[in-house]
Amino acid sequence: MTQTIAQSAAVPAKRGVLESLTKSNWIGLVPFFAFIFFFLVLPSTNLLMRSFQDFDGNFTLANYAVMKNPYVIKAYSISLRVSVITSLVGGVFGFFVAYAITLGNTPRWMRNFLMTFSGLAANFGGVPLAFSYIATLGRTGFMTAVLKSICYTNAAGVQVCPFNPYDNGFNLYSIGGLVLAYTYFQFPLMVLTITPALEGLKKDWREASANLGASPFQYWRDVALPILWPSILGATLLLFGSAFGAYATAYALTGGSIYLITILISQQIRGDVLNNPYEGYALAVGMVIIMGITILAYTILQRQTARWLKS
């Protein structure tokens, strides 16, 4: 993913494509491009074009005024907040786990197990994940019950249960709960994407830096993290994207009570809550634009921080 995004930014071999396409051996790709045209290009461009049309089919930018709608602003901001938080939380957690199973000295079975399990959990999301969290941390969930049962009688003779999560302001059906649930697939995704980069850290670099007098902290600050940085950025982008587009988990967990942008769009599809389908299209295109801006920012950031990558 990291690499492909970098490639997409540069679009190498573009001339090559055109060159070889003129050589009439493009025939083999016709089924693929026909499929892509019908099922990807057509729906996307249709949405895009309609977002610039009024009821009579004339060009207008007015639909994008929906971005000034306070509900829309709120939905976008909650979505962005959840995405940023979960990609940071999942990213940091996943990074340490990946470190533990690559460079860290952990039992072998743990490494194999975590690697395999990350492959599974990263693909796991949606409705069943939400059910799991409800069954575990919902009001009557398993963990809630366990935490609730840790009680003691205090000096005044009153029974106190200090760990009851719902007494401490926790609510699964909130943004906090959502972050907790998303982390279930976010951190394994981080583990999967960052592990090859960690494995690519040469032992010689660590030894060379120690040889030059650097402490382990200096090694990580000056060498390892700068080298890993492009991969970390790429992985975080992937995490951001997966959280930003997520719908099923949030929908099944909170029944739509948290106003994510994906939930708002789903309501628009179902019942035109904006009372203007064309504004709905603008809403949807807005999501793609945000993804586009994120990828652009990522590309710029990566070029600046990893100038050494270019040869």
């Binding site: 040469k202 010689d204 670099w205 030894e207 060379a208 830096s209 120690a210 040889n211 030059l212 007098g213 650097a214 402490s215 200096q218 000056d222 060498v223 700068p226 080298i227 990893a306 100038r307 050494w308 990558l309 040869s311």
Partner: protein, 348 residues
Amino acid sequence: MSYLELTNIHKSYGNAVAVEDFNLSVTQGEFVSFLGPSGCGKTTTLRMIAGFEVPTSGHITINGNDLTHLPPNKRNVGMVFQSYALFPNMTVSENIGYGLKVVGKPKNEIAKRVEEMLALIHLQELGKRYPNQLSGGQQQRVALARALAFQPQVLLLDEPLSALDAKIRVELRHEIRRIQQQLGITTIYVTHDQEEALSLSDRIVVMSQGRMEQVGTPGEIYNFPTTEFVAKFVGQINLLPVEVQNPAEGVVKIGSQLIRAGQYGHLNGKPVRLAVRPEELNPGFIEGSNNLNGIVETITYLGAIVRIRVEVEGHPISLDVFNERRMKMPVAGDLFQVNFPVDACWLL
């Protein structure tokens, strides 16, 4: 006076012994090579000096200070790695200056030292490049400069040239020797390439299976190998199984032909072999020299040198002659006479 001292070094991993009974003292400014095949313990020994491995027993001292258990970043020894190990995220200048930066040297001092080092390796104009914009040879020069920039007590080189092309290898070899002598830095050089070891070193330690086989100057190692391993590993050698004829005078017999060896120990009935290097053999017969009769097997042109393989009493023996245009080469199947001086051969 000895500067770097390795005393009774022993290293094992579980039951596997990597290095044993290693004793060596190196004087200040000396260039010592560890030479041996892969897995002989030469790199392990070097890594113990650098601090990446801790000896199971024994001591390492530099200038009288015991650093056996010091962490690598407190040792002040410079190391050059086979893979260069340049930090890809830093420019050439940043790489070279890194050893000074981590100890908090002021910026202008670092910059000055980096300039000096760049001048030393003749890469002044490449300071702003990144490692992946350099050739392998350039990268290894930068690695050398980086290892020297913080003025280490000892310079360690771990097969620094083996990832490079043959031509650059020779070029860089001279470069390393020049810089080493210019700075007068005590240097340990690990290699499996005998030519490198012979051409660079003040002294060579030949190692095999974790043990020191022989320590000596290049001349001693090449001309007076004390073990069969050294004789075979360094240079080409003919080893002929012979029968002892006269133990007191070193006269031996191959088939029916008699040979006198120049150097021999106690010949107490053990099987003995006659050792002689191909370049010591000459075609033809010389009175008073050792002479052998045989049949030419193959002629191999190696460029300046032609290697003639002759079968003597059922054993192959090679001789190297210079390739001269006017010389008429024998052909396979010819009867052939070779001679070599008595003091050119010895018994093992």
